[in-house]
């Protein structure tokens, strides 16, 4: 009897010991070995990024030339003023535009510069005097009677960041400085909208963060045409010669690229890296048959058929691109002798001066007619040297469109100086930098927040240390970019925004973040039950038995006492 009791006691203690081992050691061990490694992400800072409040600050300097202000008004200058405009784009994104304006009178050297005969020379002289920082605007107010501008033009925008504004406020005796400034305000606003950012551009740049359908049709056309922000672009220039038997074409593309294209690309170096190459294709034909027009005695391509030209050619184009960067193609097509001359007609059946067309986010094609270079009885093949300056003029303007410089829609009364040999004016580059910075910030913040959401939702994804590091550096760079935009340092803001977007893209597209295994709950149970149930059932049953025996023992003890 005592032996049975001892046996029972041993059995009970064994069961309790096993249960204790399972609970104390087994369950934590199983939990630890089946959890996925998830490095810590700065979740608090990421959730701050969801509500983005961007502030863009422009430093404007307004210089009054002699003759625009009366002496009493001149005494009140120098002054400064700050103007803010708030715009809530949607419930998570807000914009604030701050214009910090400083007023002063012109120095002697600037007056000399403004005494030049033409506006272009004045602009050049002023450019050599002062060094303007990236993102700032300088407006010179010139007297109404000045001869720098033609009669009906009010504003001249030069090649660097300066503009000449003809003052329409006659220096009325008794009017104070605030009235003069108030009268100048609408014109200055227009100048700033042209030279610096305007609301549509910035809103269009934010499309990554916004719900679809929020942008207007005009900004949609512009955003469709230009490439999205990317760390690099590949540009290919191709010469298509369908008729080598008759035309022996020579194009000095290296010199032309050096002279015309590389200056622009060099200026765009803060925005992206560019890689340029060129090729020549023989026996490459357009996919469309041109129609002969007797009235113009030329072959014509109508605007409708242009859309079908690109695809057969693109299938033959080789590409040197080794990276995943977007590719821009610029094709120069020299028609064969049977189909020369070939002209492009637009929708109104008029000849197009440039004889070129472009496709958004792809590139451009120019048709170059050489039939004028030789007569009927020359010996074929004819050596023809292509006039690269004409060709590059067209390609340069197409390249500007593809890269994001909008078509210059000058407001009435404005004279915008053409960019010429440098390819792009400083203020145009500033406009691009503003929209690029905002686009980078929007895209990076959208990537980071969606990545954090994804990682939250799916508990099975392993988060490695390098991803956590990329996310942390992206968040830091993003906050720095927003701070620099607030402070008005455009170049630094662009640099930080580029860092932010490259880090966020690397984190989002890391190959290790593949949620491959979808575990529905019933599959999880199906795996664990055969493993754990046979082990747990005896343990639980024995624990229950022990518990019941203890209960019985206690009940007996109480009965005995009573």
């Amino acid at each position: 009897m005592a032996a049975v009791e001892v046996e029972k006691q041993r059995g009970r203690s064994a069961a309790v010991a096993i249960a204790a081992l399972v609970i104390a050691a087994g369950i934590p061990l199983w939990w630890k070995t089946t959890e996925t490694y998830r490095a810590w992400l700065p979740a608090a800072r990421i959730s701050e990024l969801e509500a983005l409040q961007l502030e863009l600050r422009v430093e404007v300097e307004v210089v009054f030339a002699r003759g625009t202000l009366s002496p009493e008004q001149q005494k009140k200058v120098p002054a400064s003023r700050m103007r803010e405009q708030q715009q809530q784009v949607d419930d998570k994104t807000g914009l604030k535009f701050t214009y910090e304006t400083r007023f002063r009178t012109a120095t002697v050297m600037e007056e000399d510069a403004l005494n030049q005969p033409t506006a272009a020379e004045a602009d050049h002289a002023l450019h050599t005097l002062t060094e303007t920082s990236c993102g700032s605007v300088v407006i010179y107010i010139i007297p109404e009677a000045s001869a720098l501008l033609p009669q009906d033009m009010r504003v001249y925008v030069g090649r660097s960041r300066t503009a000449l504004l003809r003052s329409q406020v006659a220096s009325v005796v008794g009017a104070g400085l605030p009235e003069v400034l108030a009268a100048l305000d609408p014109q200055m606003e227009q100048v700033l909208q042209t030279m610096s950012f305007n609301h549509q551009d910035v809103t269009a740049a934010l499309t990554d963060r916004l719900r679809p359908g929020l942008s207007t049709r005009d900004s949609l056309a512009d955003s469709m045409r230009a490439f999205k922000s990317s760390p690099g672009y590949e540009i290919t220039f191709s010469l298509l010669n369908p008729d080598p038997k008759h035309h022996q074409l020579h194009w000095d593309v290296e010199a032309a690229l050096d002279a015309y294209i590389y200056p622009l690309l060099h200026k765009m170096a803060p925005v992206a890296n560019f890689s340029v190459d060129s090729q020549i294709l023989y026996y490459a034909v357009l996919g469309v048959n041109p129609r002969y027009d007797a009235s113009a005695s030329a072959y014509t391509l109508s605007a409708d058929s242009l859309a079908h030209v690109i695809n057969p050619v693109e299938a033959r184009l080789g590409s040197n691109a080794a990276s995943s960067n977007p590719v821009l193609n610029f094709l120069l097509y020299v028609p064969d002798s049977l189909h020369s001359p070939l002209i492009i007609r637009n929708d109104q059946k008029q000849e197009v001066a440039s004889n070129a067309f472009h496709s958004p986010r792809w590139g451009g094609i120019m048709v170059y007619n050489v039939d004028g270079a030789y007569g009927n009885d020359t010996q074929f093949p004819v050596d023809i040297a292509i006039d690269m300056s004409r060709v590059m003029g067209v390609f340069l303007s197409q390249l500007r469109l593809m890269l994001g410089f909008q078509q210059t829609g000058a407001p009435p009364g404005f004279v915008l100086e053409a960019a010429g040999r440098e390819g792009v004016a400083e203020w145009e580059l500033d406009r691009l930098l503003w929209s690029r910075s905002v686009e980078n910030v929007a895209t990076a913040s959208a990537s980071i927040t969606s990545l954090a959401q994804l990682l939250d939702q799916i508990a099975n994804i392993v988060i490695n240390d390098n991803i956590a590091q990329q996310v942390a550096s992206a968040v830091t760079a993003l906050q720095a970019a927003v701070a620099e935009l607030e402070a008005g340092n455009l170049a630094l803001a662009l640099e930080h925004s580029r860092e932010a977007i490259s880090a966020s893209e690397r984190a989002f597209f890391d190959p290790s973040l593949l949620h491959l295994l979808y575990f529905p709950d019933d599959q999880k149970f199906a795996i664990y039950i055969p493993l754990f149930l046979p082990m747990c059932v005896p343990i639980l049953l024995s624990l229950l038995k022990i518990f019941r025996e203890v209960q019985q023992h206690r009940a007996e003890k109480r009965a005995k006492r009573d």
């Binding site: 949607d90 809103t203 990554d208 679809p212 359908g213 929020l214 207007t216 049709r217 005009d218 056309a221 999205k228 290296e254 032309a256 050096d258 002279a259 590389y262 200056p263 605007a303 242009l306 859309a307 079908h308 030209v309 695809n311 693109e314 590409s319 691109a321 080794a322 995943s324 109104q348 197009v352 001066a353 440039s354 070129a356 067309f357 472009h358 496709s359 958004p360 986010r361 120019m366 006039d387 300056s389 004409r390 590059m392 003029g393 067209v394 340069l396 078509q407 053409a418 010429g420 040999r421 990537s447 994804l454 799916i458 597209f509 190959p511 973040l513 593949l514 491959l516 979808y518 529905p520």
Partner: protein, 385 residues
């Protein structure tokens, strides 16, 4: 508030353009009908083995149509799980037929397969869609779409309720597919996406989609099987599935300038021809299917604009300045001698070096000597040494 203003502005602008003239609204219509600037296609065949010839033929016929309508190879990701054209059991090597009596060879002579054989896995498919490929992946194996790309995704193989079988060893579920599309939407990797699936119970694969701008077609409803079309007695297997066969016939009538729209595509292969009931899903799509052209997804009609502005660079008298530095000298370029023909033709016979006799000869002579001495006695050995 801003979107109301945007709508008002858009309608005002459109109204004004209607008053302006005939061609302006036509031009606006053409430009703004669809927001895409480029087209991509991801065509996947998930089955291997000879008796699944029809799945490879399905995928290749869609590939052929898509190429014919203009999408270049650089924008097509073609994944074939097995090689039927060069299969040992193919009586007509280097061909894959879609019509019996070998009427139409869909393999062609410029097929570019990006993922082949065992590379077609669920993991690679999801990596292609989400873009999470290792950095060494070449450009042709990537889906480099942007926010203005229209993507066509075509899947075929053996499927079931909620899953699609890859390579006889793994499956992709409809939840994973829906999540992959959501990831694509988060990164704006597509503008609009058309999803076509030709498997048994195909409609179950698009049940779980929840991202915007998706349109889906399937060859059969849940609980139905997709049937194959017709066998070819010479090749010995079924050549095509019914839905894709009639889809191919429909697409053969489409040319790049065609104005056929999606409602025509929904009518392809009714129950009388297909035996199963094809289904489609358009509730996530923003535009009305009647205004979506077939070529918006199957073809690649580019938007073009005439270049109005040029930059005047011709300044007479100024020579081209060198930006990079000193001018490059013109060096005469020649091809590297890759095949030394002169050497091969006029070759003298090579002197063979002398080698001592190798094992076989040695063994043979040893055997002969042993037999000799065994027969005639060892005393003859003195004649040797």
């Amino acid at each position: 508030m801003p979107n109301i203003i945007a709508v008002v502005c858009a309608s005002y602008g459109l109204a004004q353009s209607v008053c302006d003239g005939e061609d302006l609204p036509a031009r606006a219509e053409r430009f703004f009908r669809s927001d895409h600037t480029n087209n991509w296609a991801v065509l996947v065949c998930t089955s291997r083995f000879w008796f699944n010839y029809r799945h490879v033929a399905n995928t290749l016929s869609v590939y052929r149509s898509v190429k014919r309508l203009g999408i270049p190879d650089s924008h097509i990701v073609l994944m074939l799980a097995d090689d039927m054209a060069c299969n040992h059991r193919n009586p007509k090597p280097a061909t894959v037929f879609s019509h019996k009596n070998m009427e139409l060879n869909v393999y062609g002579d410029d097929v570019e397969v990006d993922y082949r054989g065992y590379e077609v896995t669920v993991e690679n498919f999801l990596r292609v869609l989400t873009g999470r490929l290792p950095p060494s992946t070449p450009r042709s194996k990537r889906l480099l779409s942007d926010d203005h790309s229209n993507i066509l995704i075509y899947l075929t193989g053996h499927g079931g309720n909620g899953f699609l079988k890859f390579q006889d060893s793994e499956e992709i579920s409809n939840v994973e597919l829906a999540d992959a599309f959501e990831q694509m939407w988060q990164k704006r990797r597509y503008n609009e996406l058309l999803f076509i699936i030709d498997t048994c119970q195909g409609a179950s694969m698009y049940e779980r989609f929840y991202s915007p701008n998706l349109m889906a077609l399937a060859s059969s409803q849940v609980g139905e099987d997709s049937l194959s079309h017709q066998p070819d007695l010479a090749i010995g297997v079924h050549l095509m599935d019914r839905y894709t066969f009639y889809l191919l016939e429909f697409l053969e009538d489409i040319h790049p300038a065609s104005q056929a729209n999606m409602n025509d595509l929904f009518k392809v292969c009714p129950k009388s021809q297909c035996v199963s009931t094809p289904g489609h899903r358009t509730d996530l799509f923003q535009r009305d299917p009647g205004s979506v052209l077939i070529t918006d997804f199957f073809g690649s009609v580019r938007k073009v604009e005439i270049t109005m502005e040029t930059i005047n660079l011709t300044v007479p008298g100024i020579p081209l300045e060198r930006f990079g530095g000193e001018p490059h000298t013109e060096t005469a370029l020649a091809y590297v001698d890759q095949l030394p023909v002169a050497q091969i033709i006029h070759q003298k016979p090579k002197q063979k070096d002398w080698h001592p006799p190798d094992g076989f000869i040695l063994g043979l002579w040893t055997l002969i000597l042993l037999v000799f001495f065994r027969t005639y006695g060892i005393k003859h050995l003195k004649h040797i040494f």
